[in-house]
């Protein structure tokens, strides 16, 4: 019984409370780059979740045999092999999306989220908890990517998954696309607003102040 609640916590914690993107600010590079449309965001999320889960499993299985001095090399070799497999599958079956994602699938190898989870969690836990934790983190990353990708595609083009949702002004509707949403800065703004919203709901995520402001002295009259 103790075991099950623990696993459930490991799985659901990274969704909002310990979200890798909004709390730990990991994996930002790909989160900003591939979220122009929902389709690429979803593909990227699935790829990363699969790679992360399997890599955590493999690292955890051989965790007692990895020499500490070369552990990063071993982890990256495992991650990179998995990424190559995923990349080949995408190129074979989803050629168009693979072209849209360009180098970012390959860059999952260097995604700090993947390395962070294998290094910090999978190396010290048995395979099942390690994989559950990795899957939860993958889901947390996917949640943010899908929210931002959805918002950007909806307001940038009026579409979701390439289907027109909001009627465009050019075609007799009322919606004028906000082309800023398709540029990279908008992802920064949306992510910032999202972090702001989450931290004002969950106060414990707010970072400690770097400086304490001096006591205010009123000017003499």
């Amino acid at each position: 019984m103790e075991k099950r609640t623990d696993l459930w916590g490991t799985l659901t914690d990274p969704l909002i409370r310990q979200n890798p993107v909004t709390l730990q600010i990991l994996g930002i590079c790909s989160a900003l780059a591939v979220t122009t449309t929902l389709a690429t965001a979803v593909t990227m999320s699935i790829s990363l979740t699969v790679v992360l889960t399997l890599a955590a499993g493999f690292v955890s299985v051989i965790r007692r045999h990895i020499p500490d001095t070369i552990r990063l090399i071993v982890q990256i070799v495992i991650v990179a092999s998995l990424v190559i497999v995923i990349d080949q599958i995408l190129q074979a079956y989803f050629a168009e999306i693979s072209r849209a994602l360009s180098v970012y699938v390959g860059l999952i190898t260097t995604n700090c989220l993947v390395l962070g989870r294998t290094e910090a969690f999978a190396r010290h836990h048995r395979p099942l908890p390690a994989m559950v934790d990795a899957f939860g983190n993958g889901l947390g990353y996917s949640l943010i990517l899908i929210v931002i990708g959805g918002l950007r595609e909806l307001f940038g083009k009026g579409e979701l998954f390439g289907i027109q949702v909001l009627p465009l002004a050019d075609a007799g509707g009322w919606f004028t696309p906000l082309s800023l949403m398709l540029l990279a800065p908008s992802a920064f703004f949306l992510l910032g607003l999202l972090v702001w919203a989450i931290r004002s709901l969950l106060r414990e995520q707010v970072e400690a102040r770097e400086h304490t402001p001096p006591l205010r002295t009123e000017p003499a009259e």
Binding site: T176, L178, S179, L180, M181, L183, F189, W196, P219, A220, E221
Partner: protein
């Protein structure tokens, strides 16, 4: 001056007084359309200041009026109420209020709003200013400098480079007029321009230089668009200019007085 008289709101009032000739000329030539746009901008900025006062206890500032004036004057034409409200909200909240209110912002909220509108709705044309409005920028600058609310060195630095550019003939007149108005409204802002004297000279010169560069090499851009883009880049560079001026000062001091 009496100590205690000069606080943030006094500076905001002086800025408002400086902008008065510019605003009156613009309203006189623009008529009711201009007045409606200004009223909408003031309303939206005011509401956001009120929201931040109620939710985060940030004192509202009269600088809201200068922001609203700058946005209303320079925003692309015929945007419609909804897009204008969106742009103004974005600029005021993300450019100023989240940093803690006027005086703590890094970039001028009006520049943020205008850039947002320019990038977000590229189909709308930028306003064109006639010579009378641009001439009204000169008394505005004079009042600003005389009252100390506008940094004189920024204006002087910009004027110096702009004069050189006009004399060599690479700065067209339309761009010069728009750049003058933007210089007074957005660049010569006491908060977001550089704070050291040397930094201010370079700040003004950089602005005029960027305007000249864009006018020379950016084909198909409207004069106001050129000026706003230059103002955005300049205000982002301002802290760097200050840092360089301070480092120079420290290095000079060290050379004269040895290790301190």
């Amino acid at each position: 001056m009496i100590r205690g008289l000069w606080n943030r709101e006094t500076v905001a009032l002086m800025l408002l007084a400086a902008y008065l000739p510019l605003a009156l000329f613009w309203l006189w030539l623009g008529g009711t359309g201009a007045l409606a746009q200004l009223a909408l901008a003031v309303l939206v900025v005011g509401i956001w200041h009120l929201v931040f006062m109620l939710m985060r206890a940030q004192a509202p500032s009269l600088a809201a009026l200068t922001t609203a004036l700058a946005i209303a004057m320079l925003a692309p034409e015929d945007l419609g109420a909804f897009r204008l409200v969106l742009g103004v909200s974005f600029g005021v909240v993300m450019g100023e209020l989240v940093f803690g209110g006027w005086g703590r912002n890094v970039v001028n909220p009006a520049i943020v709003a205008l850039s947002f509108l320019g990038f977000g709705f590229p189909a709308f044309s930028w306003p064109v200013f006639d010579a009378p409005i641009a001439w009204a920028a000169i008394p505005a600058a004079l009042i600003g400098v005389a009252s100390g609310a506008m940094p004189a060195a920024v204006l002087a630095g910009a004027a110096l480079v702009a004069t050189g550019a006009v004399l060599t003939g690479i700065l067209p007149e339309q761009v010069l007029l728009a750049a003058g108005i933007v210089l007074v409204l957005l660049v010569a802002d006491p908060v977001t321009s550089a704070a050291t004297t040397l930094g201010r000279w370079i700040n003004g010169a950089l602005y005029a230089g960027l305007v000249t560069f864009f006018a020379f090499g950016w084909t198909g851009a409207a004069p106001v668009q050129i000026a706003v883009a230059a103002a955005l880049l300049t205000s982002l560079a301002a802290p760097l200019l200050d840092e360089a001026a301070l480092a120079l000062w420290v290095a000079q001091r060290r050379r004269r007085h040895g290790r301190t």
